[in-house]
Structure formats: structure tokens, C-alpha cells
């Protein structure tokens, strides 16, 4: 038996949907040569990460082992798979491989962060392969909700690993290659040691529907619309954008793309040859002059993002265009959990304008980009792997997916971020736990999720804040009275007197009562002032604010 092993180590994406980063390694324990699959981001929210710009997986482990890293492979161009590449390339310094469309997006990510775009290598689809240390990696076209998504065939001395990436089985994906069972059969033929498989839709019991099933309903909706019709979807879902645009043209409408991402994605797809026969579009300036019944806008902002085109339109004029009574707004999309409030804000704003809003609640205008349970099971059957490793999903999804594997007799493992799994033998084995977590991009700085910076912001947001300044003279006597500044607190409470004055009076009272021992000890002074400030606030307004005390001693 060899003393080398094949390992799998998710650093992000296993136990969550977002910020994917999966490491594979082969070699002697602790000396495995490594590859990284995907390097994505996840998005912050006001609940847990106010003020944060992006969330990355903690890449410390890989950075510390970067001398062992052979290459980085990106399966597709969604932010949760490629969004971190520019931010971490300098820490990792390995060549990046992806297909052409993805490469165009990765190049942009590198460039934005000042990295040399030459490190991004566009490669062809399977059977073309890239050699990376002990690995030979090929990109197998899969259908998803962005062009040129790929599963990876990763050949290792310990056998073949199939890493599905995000995928669905689609016989008619509108853009890109249809699902090809023959091709996958070929891939499975030599035997698959491990199938590392998308889990996102394991909870969906029915077979997934094809992107190609949408045109009839969409065409009908667009044909029957009376005023202007505005459609939103993810800009990266180029197939959907094309289906929508085609529906517009079929109804005799001019199509206008609104929102930077929308225009960019279509342009990249055309440039890279992914998208053919996209209809002629008009600019917003041209659109303004067209009769609204002969116009279709395709816009960004399907998730209710405040700055995207849909939200701008819901607040009034955007690039000269406005919506009004008799217009139709279509969400050709699903609301990601957590985004409901933002989406409903837009829907209700349109309702106030008299705009009819249509969404996918009837199941007509959107299909998912992920394989549902029966499709995942079809993939298991097709690959017939020795080991199943569910990835890309919240814990409940990974667990359900592993159960589905076990039910068929495939040894499966729930491996969350940080679990190093030995895939060499007949059973997956968790051999080590690597420290992992989240890194925040905050403005231009990377900070650790546990650094306390964001915790302090949340505390102020919940409790408000009081700043107290006190000047002590050369004789350790207070010079004047303590001064308070309030942030995020009501002006008055129970006694109907200004809260700031009551707080200053309480602070002054404390200082007056304090003996020399306290007055000469900054810690005691601070602690005492903090206590009386909080006490006064609790009595007056029923809240315990955060308190910062600054004592200036003249010497």
C-alpha cells in the first residue's frame, strides 16, 4: 500500500452557499501537492456584517502552504466561485486555469486588484487537460446559470475525482452545450474514486426543468404586455437574457439593457463567442424616445439590490426612463433567502406606480441552475463513484445529500469547511481539522471575522453610544465638567430633560464625589464614569449605551 494519499479540504462553500474554495492534494501526509478549485466570495448583510464589502474564506492555511500549491482552477464565473481571485492571488501565486468566458471574468477580477492578468490561462474543454503536479485536470462542460460552467475531471495517482462544480442536467440550455450522457459515461468508464457533488437543490424533490422550457410562457407574457415591459434576472445568466431579448424582439419590441453588469456580461459572452445571434439592442438614450409599448428593458437587480437598475426604476427616473401605470415588471428569477425584504420593497414601490409585477410564484418564468434531487441521483448513477462527497450547500443540504448517497450504498461524508478528508481508500475518512473561518473586506482592508471590529459596530447600532471627555489639571483636579456627546440616542427620556445634560450632571456628580485615589487612577475614573453614564441612560431611556471615556491630563 502506498504511503501517499489523496485529500479533499473545503476552505469555503461546505456548510454554506457562497465563497467556494476547495483544496485537493496528493502525496505523503503533510507534503501533498495541492490544487485549489474556485476562490469565491459571499455577500455581507446588515444583520451580521454591517459595513463589510465582501466576505472571503479564510485562506491562511493555503497561504502558509502555498509552496505546495500547483494551480488554481475556476469552474465558472459566478462571484461565489471567482470573486476572490484578485484579492488573494498575491498570497497564493499559482497559475489560474479556466475556460474562455470564465477567464474573461477572472482577468477583470485580477486587473481590478492590480494583479498581472497573465496568470489567468484560458483552456479548452475536455478532453483537453492541464497538468498540475500529480494532477491532470480537465474541464467538462455542464449546464448551470452562466455560460461555460464546468465540472472538473481530476485524475490522480489514487484514481479519478469528478468535481461537479455547480451544475444541472439540461438537454436544452439555450446557450452552451446540452447535457451529454454519452460523454459522462465515457468519463465514468475508468472508474470514479470520488464524486464531489453540488448539493444546493438536494431538497427539491422533482426533476429540474430545462432553460429551454421557458420561451413559450415568456413569449406569451411579453406578447400580451401592454405598456413597457421590464425584465430582471441575474446578468450572468446569459441564456436567460437571450431568451428574454428574443421574446421582446418576437413581440416587435426594441430591447435595451440597463445596468452595468447586464451590458458587460452580454458583451463578454459575445466577445468570447459564447453568445451568438443576440438581438440588436438600443441605448437608454434611444429608448427614451421610443413608444413604451414597443420597448423592453432587461435590467439588473433581481435580488432587490439598492443601487441596481430595478431599484432605481422603483424609486423614479433612471437614465431618463420611468415606469408607470400599465407597464409590466417581470422577475425572471428566484429570491435568494435573506433578500426578501429588498425585493418586496421594489415590488411594492412598483405597485404604487400602478405597474403590474409578475414573478415566478406560478413556476412559469424561471428555472434553477442547480440539479434537483432526482438529477443528483442520476449523476450518482452515471458516475458510480466509490465515494460521494457532497459540497456546495448549507449543512442541512450536505447532510441530506450524504444520506441520499448512503441510501444507495455509496460511502458518503458530511465534510464542512476545514475538514480534511482522505479519499484514497474505500471509505472517506476525516483525517484532520484545519482552522478556517471568514475574512472580511472592509473598505480596502482585510480583517478577520473575529477581530471585533464588526462586533463593535453592531453594538453601537443596537445600543447607541456616549463619548465622555474629562480634562484633569496638573493637580489631578477636574478642569471644568465632564463633557458628553451622544450618537444614536434619543434626545430625552423619562424626565423630559435633555439626556445629554442629565448624563453630564451624573458624570460630574461622580467626579465631585470621587476621592484622590480615584481621581489619580484613569482606570477607576473611566470605569466609574462608564457606570454612571449607563445607569443614567437606563433610568432615562431604558437602554445601556456603549460608552467611550477620554481623560486628558494636563502635565
Amino acid at each position: 500500500m502506498s504511503d501517499e494519499r489523496l485529500i479533499y479540504l473545503p476552505l469555503g462553500g461546505a456548510g454554506e452557499v457562497g465563497m467556494n474554495a476547495y483544496v485537493y492534494g496528493y502525496g505523503k501526509p503533510g507534503q501533498e501537492r495541492l490544487i485549489l478549485v474556485d476562490l469565491g466570495v459571499t455577500f455581507p448583510d446588515m444583520d451580521g456584517t454591517p459595513g463589510v464589502d465582501l466576505i472571503f474564506p479564510d485562506m491562511t492555511w493555503l497561504k502558509e502552504n502555498r509552496d505546495r500549491l500547483e494551480a488554481i482552477f475556476i469552474t465558472h464565473g459566478h462571484e461565489d466561485h471567482v470573486g476572490g481571485i484578485g484579492h488573494f492571488w498575491a498570497d497564493l501565486r499559482a497559475p489560474v486555469f479556466c475556460r474562455r468566458f470564465t477567464a474573461a471574468l477572472a482577468v477583470r477580477k485580477m486587473d481590478e486588484q492590480g494583479q498581472d492578468v497573465e496568470h489567468v490561462n484560458a483552456v479548452g474543454a475536455w478532453p483537453e487537460t492541464v497538468k498540475a503536479g500529480p494532477f491532470k485536470v480537465g474541464f467538462v462542460p455542464v449546464s448551470h446559470s452562466i455560460p461555460e460552467s464546468s465540472g472538473l475531471v481530476i485524475d490522480t495517482p489514487a484514481g479519478r475525482v469528478v468535481h461537479t462544480g455547480d451544475f444541472k442536467l439540461d438537454g436544452n440550455p439555450v446557450v452552451g452545450e446540452a447535457f451529454d450522457p454519452k460523454l459522462w459515461n465515457e468519463i465514468a468508464k475508468p472508474g470514479v474514486q470520488a464524486l464531489v457533488c453540488d448539493s444546493t437543490n438536494i431538497m427539491s424533490p422533482n426533476p429540474g426543468r430545462s432553460e429551454g422550457s421557458l420561451p413559450p410562457a415568456l413569449n406569451r407574457l411579453v406578447a400580451e404586455a401592454e405598456g413597457m415591459i421590464v425584465c430582471t434576472t441575474f446578468a450572468s445568466n446569459v441564456a436567460r437574457v437571450k431568451t428574454l431579448a428574443d421574446a421582446g424582439v418576437a413581440a416587435g419590441r426594441s430591447v435595451c439593457l440597463l445596468g452595468r453588469a447586464m451590458k458587460r456580461m452580454v458583451a463578454v459572452a459575445i466577445d468570447t463567442g459564447v453568445l451568438e445571434k443576440f438581438p440588436h439592442t438600443v441605448t437608454p438614450e434611444e429608448a427614451v424616445d421610443l413608444p413604451r409599448e414597443s420597448l423592453m428593458l432587461i435590467v439588473t437587480g433581481s435580488q432587490g439590490e439598492r443601487r441596481a437598475a430595478s431599484a432605481q426604476l422603483s424609486r423614479g427616473k433612471f437614465l431618463g426612463l420611468t415606469m408607470k401605470e400599465g407597464d409590466t415588471f417581470l422577475f425572471s428569477s428566484k429570491t435568494i433567502p435573506g433578500n426578501e425584504r429588498g425585493v418586496l420593497r421594489i415590488v411594492n414601490a412598483f405597485s404604487e406606480m400602478g405597474v403590474d409585477v409578475v414573478d415566478d410564484s406560478g413556476g412559469l418564468y424561471h428555472v434553477s441552475g442547480h440539479a434537483n434531487r432526482p438529477d443528483l441521483e442520476a449523476m450518482h448513477d452515471l458516475m458510480h463513484p466509490k465515494i460521494l462527497v457532497p459540497m456546495h450547500g448549507e449543512h442541512r443540504m450536505l447532510r441530506e445529500h450524504a444520506k441520499a448517497g448512503e441510501a444507495k450504498g455509496i460511502p458518503s461524508v458530511v465534510a464542512v469547511n476545514g475538514s480534511m478528508v482522505d479519499l484514497t481508500g474505500p471509505q472517506p475518512q476525516i483525517v484532520e481539522y484545519v482552522e478556517t473561518g471568514r475574512t472580511y473586506l472592509d473598505g480596502s482592508v482585510k480583517i478577520g471575522a473575529l477581530d471585533g471590529v464588526v462586533r463593535d459596530r453592531i453594538r453601537v447600532a443596537l445600543n447607541g453610544q456616549v463619548f465622555v471627555t474629562l480634562i484633569m489639571d496638573e493637580n489631578d483636579e477636574p478642569l471644568g465638567e465632564p463633557w458628553a456627546e451622544l450618537v444614536g440616542l434619543p434626545e430625552e427620556g423619562r424626565s423630559r430633560a435633555p439626556l445629554v445634560e442629565l448624563i453630564e450632571a451624573a458624570a460630574d456628580g461622580f467626579i465631585q464625589r470621587a476621592d484622590d485615589k480615584v481621581l489619580t487612577d484613569d482606570d477607576q475614573l473611566e470605569e466609574g464614569l462608564r457606570r454612571v453614564v449607563r445607569q443614567t441612560a437606563v433610568e432615562e431611556i431604558g437602554k445601556k449605551p456603549e460608552v467611550v471615556v477620554v481623560i486628558s491630563r494636563l502635565t
Copy 2:
């Protein structure tokens, strides 16, 4: 023609789901005698209202007109209908009327806020009526998701108004009176001038299902569960709690209620005679000693609330009870939009424990308490009103409901909060807009939504904060250097030096360069310091923090 009129004025609940407060008036314009129907709250969130405890409708208009207010009627005991009564009673000072179960909850709300509970009057169901100025009001039992919900029959000199309250048509509601078409026919017989009608589920195209349809599936699930089974639902849904408890007993399990609201609601329902034959329950102390396969917990926290029993169990031990592999957790509930993240946090935490989580995604374990579109239309047909006023819903729901009315030839109006509608004639007419909005309960203080207090908290949460102090001596010269305190900001940025030091150096540089004109002018000093602090922060960390400057002048 009379110079008196019948008006309807929603102050809350029209254009949102939450904080219901509907005013009716009859009399000469501007002198109408008034009644208030419901006085509810809505709940804050981190996105828009961090740190806020409760949200009320702005009751200023009614307070200013309280000499015209005859009475307050509460349709049912949900927080969004009764939650504000204790907080505003002192401003309104009118007798409160409701049915017995609701009265028990209203009494508690009054008592908690130090109001005399004698103002709450429990009254019987229709045909009993309460006279209030020109109004005669009766409580007609309807089904909903809390006992003794009522529609109101409001007889006025201008005809009969039917205010549905929250309702559904349920032939078998488990607890309380079944829908009685004969009774409603009687009510419609004299003619209904206006139907003011729940709109919550207008978007749901299929007929609603009965509470009584749930036991088969629930009984099966509980009977087949292997370890402990834990169920959550809204505590106030006493019928559901009973169905769950009955299912537990049928499966030979002891039932334990967990969470204060759960125990309280069941106790109130038993005390008021609403709930009969509720199974014997065991205490948590007794439950700990029982074998888990013969135990069922019914717990609070169906919306993922952090402090409720379900969240506590998902984090570990709660009152000695823990969940583990082989146990089942059932959400017999629907997640309210906006609560998804909190619910998923719990689901995934249970998944990590190996607990099987079951929810209503298959449509088996929950029914809504609101009438769906076909049921609303049945109500329209039954009441045959001259005017339809959709209420209780977001704008999109009110609009859709009004469209449904118009489609049948019933004059309808979308009347959002603040719209005073004249219901006297054959058509509803908006005759005035009253200023309205939201009032926050923040700690123990009521503040206006536009006071800026919460805005300031959000700004700090997003941007962080710098607090700068500067002491100027008697000669208007700086005494020492400016001092900075940072809150919610990274310790260092681009130059890898402590941010606080860089900010202090920049502030000092500004002071050194400042001429006498600036040094003697607090406004210019503050403005200049704020500018250099922000500039340094932007360069170093790419963020523009909030800045507070305190200048102390020794005199």
C-alpha cells in the same frame, strides 16, 4: 342629502403587514365621532431599525382628536392588532372592547405599561353589540390563527360596514366556531355599504385549507418519529398547539410546552374557556427524566427568534433538554419574509446535531390563517357590498385585491395609511391625506422614525466612527496634540501603521498648519479636523467614518 359622512382612515396596516390601526368616523366633516379598530405593533429589524424594540403607527392624529374618540375595538389578540394598546392608551383614553380571550391578552398589555386594566371590556359575540357614539359594533366570530378572532359589524347612520379583521373561511377550525355562511347571510341581508377586507393572501390562487385538515399528516409524522420530537408553531395558534399535542398523546408521548409564550397562551385559552380537552402536560424538569422516544416538546420560536426555545435548543441545552441524532424537529409554520436567515440558522444548527428537520415545504404541516383569493371572492359574494376597501396588506396586495373587486363591478379603492376615505356614497372617495408614519419604541422612549436617531446608528454600523478631542488653552493655542478614539474600524490599513496614530498625526498636522482665524473658530476647526480624519481613513482603509470632534477651550 345629509351633510354627515362615514369615513375610514387607516393609520397603520394599509400598505404593510403589521401595526394595524383603522379609524372609522361618522358626522359632519371634521367633527366625525370616531372609533379605532385595533392598535398593533410591528417588529424592527437590523436593516432599517437596529436597536429599536417595537414599531407603532404614528398615533398623533388620533391623539389630537381624542375628544372625538368613542371607543377602541380589538378584533383579535395578535401583536399586530393589540400590541400597542398599553403604550397608547394614556394618549387616547377611550374604553377598549374585545372578546374574552383577546381581553385577557389586552389586559396584560395594559398592565405591563401601567395602565388601568378596568378600561378593557370583554364582550360577547354577535348579535351582542356595543354602542359607541353613532356606531353600533358587534363581534362576529371568524376563523384565523388565534382563538376568538372577530370580524366587526359596524352599523352607522350611513349603513353597515363589515370590517373582516384577519380571517379565513374554515369549516373545521379545531378551536372556535366554524365558518357559518348562514350567519354571514343574515349579516349581509340589510345591505352592506362597505366591506373592509383582509388582503394578506390575495396572491394565493387556490382555496385555503382547513386547520382541521392537518391531523392525519401530523399524526403520521409524530407516530413515525423515532427519538424525541420537537414541534414549533406560533404560541397564539392554540388550535395548532392542540393538534400537535393531541398527535403526541396519540403516539403515546408525554407533551411538554417550552417557552413562556407557549405556556401562557395555552393557560389563557384554558382559563377563558376557549380551549377544552387539552392533554395533560409535563414540566421540563419531568421531561428530562423521560425516555426521549416518549417525549414531545412544543416550543416557541418558529420564526428563528434568537431567544426563543427553538433557537436555544439549536445552540445546546435548554432547561436541561438537548436534541441529538435521531430526533425530529418540525416547523408547523411558515417563515415570514425577512426571517429566513434566522430560521435557516436554526435548521443548520440542528442538522449539525444530526436532528432531522421537517418543514411545510411539502404543504403537509401548516395552513395559513388568512383567506386566499377564492375565499376572499366568496366573501365579496356573500357580503355583496356597495364598496370594497382592501386592508391589511402590502401595497401590492391592496392593489390586487382592489382589482379583484373592480373586476366584479364593486367600486374599490387602494387606501394606504393616512388616506381618509368617504364611504358614504356609491363610490369610495379619498377626501384627505392625514400625516402618518411610524413611531419607534427605543428602550423605554418613543421616538419618531424620522428623528435621525436610528439613522445615526446605521451610519456608525456601516462606516465606523472616529472621536477626536482637542484642548485649546487660554491663548487659543492647542494644548498637546489632538486625541482620537476609533470605534468599529480596522486597527491598520494600507501603511501597516496603527490607524489611530495616522489619524492623530493628520489631525495634528492640520492644527499645526491652521492660522489664528481657524484656531479661534470652533466650526472651522471641527470641519477641518473632520476632513483630514476622513481623508486619512479613506487613504488607509478605504472607508469614510463618522467623525465627532470635541474641542475643549480652557478659559
